[in-house]
């Protein structure tokens, strides 16, 4: 499989704080990578540099074989993003919002695309609802519809399930995995929910203070650290996150 995203020595300093510290990684086409790490580890900062919301202090992002910095708008057409901290305008209807983004992303046959996404995420009944009236589960699903509108090749999700109850969270993560498999979407996914990472991700990357501490297949990592669960590994690494030999770099 070919490489879709390569990050080389990426660094982001905020004054004296180093949020991302000479981080390098590469992601293959179709791979689903989970970013795990304590609060403030640098996951959001990393994603936002890949999205062009933040300019790196140093380092390089190569997307689709080209420098992201030089082809930002061209690349943004082929990617998408959603998170718990972004929303679609609350005073418009679900349909108006999706139509708007379909037009921005120049989606072909937008009506059909919107219909099928609303069906897929089981919110077709809310087509005419005011977005602000949706429950957080519904609005998360709507955000995902927006994020999938342009059939992104690269999808970045920053804690998409953070405000969901366990049942809805489970449905959402299953759906996301299913859609990603069907369409061969490459995905970067952050979550503090270990279940999310275990269910969705082919590979997890553990970040501590802006650096990769370990990475690999979730199940193998649990074994490698001789812990009972991913959560225990998380606590261990978050508390004393020394750099560990990267044994399982696929």
């Amino acid at each position: 499989m070919s490489t879709l995203l390569t990050i080389e020595e990426l660094t982001k300093d905020y004054g004296s704080t180093t949020a991302v510290d000479h981080l390098s990684l590469s992601v293959k086409k179709g791979e689903i990578v989970g970013l795990l790490g304590a609060n403030g580890a640098g996951k959001t900062t990393l994603m936002q540099m890949i999205l062009g919301l933040l300019t790196p202090t140093s380092g390089e992002i190569i997307l689709f074989g080209e420098s992201f910095h030089k082809h930002r708008v061209k690349h943004l057409k082929r990617m998408n993003f959603t998170s718990t901290y972004s929303n679609l305008p609350s005073n418009l209807t679900v349909e108006q919002n999706l139509k708007f983004f379909a037009q921005i992303y120049a989606v072909k046959d937008a009506k059909r695309k919107i219909d099928s996404l609303l069906q897929e995420f089981e919110i077709a009944d809310h087509r005419k609802s005011i977005t602000g009236n949706l429950s957080s589960g519904e609005s998360t699903r709507l955000n995902l519809c927006k994020a999938l509108l342009n059939d992104p090749e690269l999808l970045l999700l920053d804690e998409p399930t953070a405000s969901l109850d366990p049942d809805i969270a489970d449905k959402v993560r299953t759906k996301v995995r299913q859609v990603a498999d069907e369409k061969g979407i490459t995905m970067l996914y952050t979550s503090h929910n270990m279940k999310d990472i275990e269910t969705i991700c082919d590979r997890l990357i553990f970040i501590h203070k802006g650096r990769i501490v370990t990475q690999g297949n979730p199940a193998k990592i649990v074994k490698q650290f001789e812990r009972g669960s991913l959560e225990e590994v998380f606590i261990h690494l978050a508390r004393d996150g020394e750099i560990v030999e990267e044994t399982d770099n696929p």
């Binding site: 062009g52 901290y85 418009l92 983004f101």
Partner: protein
């Protein structure tokens, strides 16, 4: 430049206006109140002084309407940006294939439409209540209005840059920026009334030339081309300066993480 993107953004801002009744009221209510207060004040002064105040009411009503062109256009640019902040949609826009100038251009279009609506309402009101006919200006209205609207765009970009730089705490500035310049713009009185230092500042602003030109136009019944030319020139300078300020602020925002901060606070 992608016209589809600009069209989509503009249409969405219009949706926001029509979906939110408070926005609509703001569009109609404030300018009308201002016009009525100014109008009745002049009528009162006119009656109590007993002198011939006939031209003053025309100057003042003209000034209120002209001022609103500048103000509404500035507001459209700044408020459109704030709408995206308020609805937590800003990041969705900035991770979409939207170029900064396309985004700005859409807010300019919203400005144009807002100005159109306000002018329509005020013209009608001034005509019904005070028998003031804005169309006395005939075709010269268009260059006057265009200059004020474009200056409003410049001020809108500066206000947006301030909000981006200092966060939502600076929201008040979105309203304050035009009023900061109002005393110097000779809106309700001629530049000659101002102290010399203020006069110097006044002649740097495109708006001053429009208001002076408006009064000259009302008094002489013809358009003053010198004022018009100077206004266009000053406008060009302001457009370039505020465009650079905006671009520089966007660059700084991407370096300091301001986009995320303002979008999530």
């Amino acid at each position: 430049m992608n016209l589809n993107v600009i069209f989509a953004l503009t249409r969405r801002y219009l949706y926001l206006y029509t979906r939110n009744p408070v926005r609509m009221i703001e569009l109609i209510f404030w300018p009308s109140v201002e016009l009525l207060v100014m109008g009745f004040l002049t009528v009162f002064i006119q009656k109590s002084s007993g002198s011939d105040f006939g031209s003053f009411i025309r100057f003042l009503l003209g000034a209120v309407i002209f001022w609103d062109v500048l103000f509404r256009s500035q507001q459209a640019v700044a408020i459109s940006f704030l709408e995206d902040v308020w609805t937590r949609n800003l990041l969705n826009i900035f991770v979409a294939p939207v170029r900064t100038y396309e985004y700005l251009f859409a807010t300019f279009c919203v400005g144009l439409l807002r100005v159109g609506l306000t002018v329509f309402i005020l013209t009608l009101l001034a005509w019904l209540v005070y028998a003031f006919n804005l169309f006395e200006f005939e075709w010269s209205l268009i260059p006057y209005f265009a200059n004020l609207m474009i200056f409003g765009w410049s001020l809108g970009m500066i206000s947006t840059a301030l909000i981006l730089r200092w966060g939502q705490a600076a929201e008040g500035l979105a309203w304050a920026v035009p009023y900061l310049l109002q005393p110097f713009s000779a809106v309700f009185y001629p530049v000659s009334i101002l102290p010399t230092v203020f006069q110097f500042i006044a002649w740097l602003l495109p708006s001053t030339y429009v208001f002076e030109g408006m009064r000259a136009g009302l008094a002489e019944g013809s358009m003053n081309y010198t004022y018009f030319g100077l206004s266009v020139l000053a406008n060009l300078v302001f457009m370039v300066i505020s465009g650079l300020i905006f671009a520089q602020t966007m660059k700084a925002a991407r370096q300091k993480g301001l986009l995320t901060r303002i979008a999530t606070q």
